[in-house]
Symmetry: C2
Subunit: 242 residues, 2 copies
C-alpha cells in the first residue's frame, strides 16, 4: 500500500501520525509534492537554496556551529523521517547543517510545502506538532548541558536518540546504532572527547550502557530513563495541563 524504495514517506508518516491524529488519506497530499532525492557523502555540509526543505531518507544529519577558535557545538540531530527546514539557518552563516555519514535527503520547495499544507489542514496540525517536538528536543539539550552531570548527559542523550529511532523502526528494543565518533558526541554534550571516553567507561562499569562496535546497548532503559528523568516521546501527545 505504501510505496517502498527509500522509506522516507513511510517514516515521515509514522512520525507525524504519532504526534497528531492523521489519516493515510490526509497524508496522501504529500504525494503531490515535487521532490528530488540527493545523495550526500560523509560529513558534507548541506547548503539549501533560500527556501528549501528536506526530509531525511537515510543517514543522520546535524546542525552545528563553529567558533573562531575551533570550538564546535552540535545542536541537534535529524534522523530518518525528520523534516529539515533549511531556511532559518541564516544568521551570518554561523549555523550549519551537515551529514554524519553518507545520507540521502529528499528536497522540495518551501512554497510547494506551504501550498500543500494549505490544501490539507490536518497536515498543518501535524507539522506544527513536529515543530513542537523539535523545540522540546532542543529544550532537552539545554537541560542536559545546563544541569546534568557528564554520565547523566550522555545517558539522557542516548535515551532520546533511541526513543526517536525506535519511533521510525530503526532501533531494537534495547539497542541502536550510533554512527558518530566520541569527538562529535563530546561536541554534542559539551564535554571533551577524552572525558566522553571516561564517561562511557563509567557507564559500562555500572552496567547502565554497553557497547558493541558502534552499537549502544541500553541494559535497562526504563530505570535509566527514570534515573536521569528522561521523558519518553510517547508521553508528549498526552493531554495538556489544567
Amino acid at each position: 500500500m505504501v510505496k517502498r524504495l527509500s522509506g522516507w514517506r513511510e517514516k515521515l508518516y509514522i512520525k507525524l501520525s504519532h504526534l497528531s491524529p492523521l489519516s493515510e488519506s490526509d497524508f496522501a497530499a504529500v504525494d503531490t509534492l515535487v521532490w528530488e532525492s540527493k545523495s550526500y557523502s560523509r560529513q558534507q555540509d548541506i547548503w539549501g537554496a533560500p527556501a528549501t526543505m528536506a526530509v531525511v531518507a537515510e543517514g543522520w544529519c546535524y546542525r552545528y556551529r563553529l567558533l573562531e577558535d575551533g570550538r564546535r557545538m552540535v545542536f541537534n540531530y535529524w534522523l530518518p523521517g525528520d523534516l529539515i527546514n533549511l531556511a532559518p539557518l541564516s544568521p551570518g552563516l554561523h549555523f550549519r547543517t551537515a551529514t554524519v555519514g553518507t545520507a540521502e535527503l529528499v528536497h522540495f520547495s518551501a512554497t510547494d510545502f506551504s501550498e500543500m499544507c494549505n490544501a490539507t489542514p490536518e497536515l498543518v496540525t501535524a507539522f506544527a506538532a513536529s515543530e513542537r517536538l523539535d523545540g522540546l528536543l532542543l529544550a532537552n539539550q539545554v537541560l542536559r548541558l545546563g544541569r546534568l552531570s557528564a554520565p547523566e548527559r550522555v545517558a539522557h542523550l542516548f535515551l532520546e536518540l533511541w526513543d526517536r529511532l525506535r519511533l521510525v523502526g530503526l532501533a531494537d528494543s534495547d539497542r541502536f546504532a550510533l554512527p558518530i565518533t566520541y569527538g562529535m558526541l563530546a561536541d554534542t554534550v559539551g564535554l571533551s572527547n577524552v572525558h566522553v571516553s571516561r564517561t562511557m567507561a563509567l557507564l559500562r562499569e555500572n552496567r547502565m550502557v554497553g557497547t558493541d562496535r558502534r552499537t549502544i546497548i541500553l541494559n535497562d532503559p526504563e530505570s535509566l530513563a527514570d534515573l536521569v528523568e528522561y521523558d519518553p516521546i510517547a508521553k508528549i501527545d498526552g493531554e495538556d495541563a489544567v
Copy 2:
C-alpha cells in the same frame, strides 16, 4: 494612532515588523482578538488553559524545569512583546512557565489566534518568523551552555537580553534592568550562584560589564559581542545563504 495603556500591542508590532515585513493595516487584524489582561505576582506559575496563548505586556516570564533533587534549569525568558504559547508545555507537567517579578499578561484563545492568522496571511509569516527567533534564542542557549566559559556565558546572555529589550524600547544604549537574582541567573547559565557572583566580579574587574543595583551596564557592547561571538538579532532577517 496606537492605543496606549499597557503597550503590548505596540511592542508586539515593533517586534514582528522587525522580523518580517508587516504593515500597520496587516497588524490591525490583531484588534479583532478577544483578549483578557491578567496581573501576576512575583514568581507565580502560569497555568494556561489547554489551548491558550499570551503576550507579555509587562514584566518578565520564564520557562523552567525542576529535577527531583532540586536542580533547576531556566530555558528562556519572555520579555514584553513576546508571545507565549502555553499549549506545548505538556510533557508530564515538567516544563513550567512563571513570572519573574510582578507581570501583566494578555491572554487569548489559540483557536481565535489561528483564525486571525487565517484571515491575514502576513501575520502567519510574521508569527512564523517570531517562532524562528525563539528557536534561535534556544540555540544560543545551547551554545552558551555547551561551549562557552562562565564569563562568556553571562556576557553572551546579557548581550542577548539587552538586544531583545532594546528592540521593544526597554533598554538604553548601554544598559538594561535585569530583574533576576544571581541564583536564577545561575540556573540560566548552568553555573552555581556562588560562581555567578565570582564571574560577575571578574567581568567588572575587566571593565566588560558594570552593575548599578539591578542594572547591567555594557561598557562596550560592540567589542563584547565580537569577543563572545554574539550575533545581533538585527542580522537575522538578512538574506539566506546561497
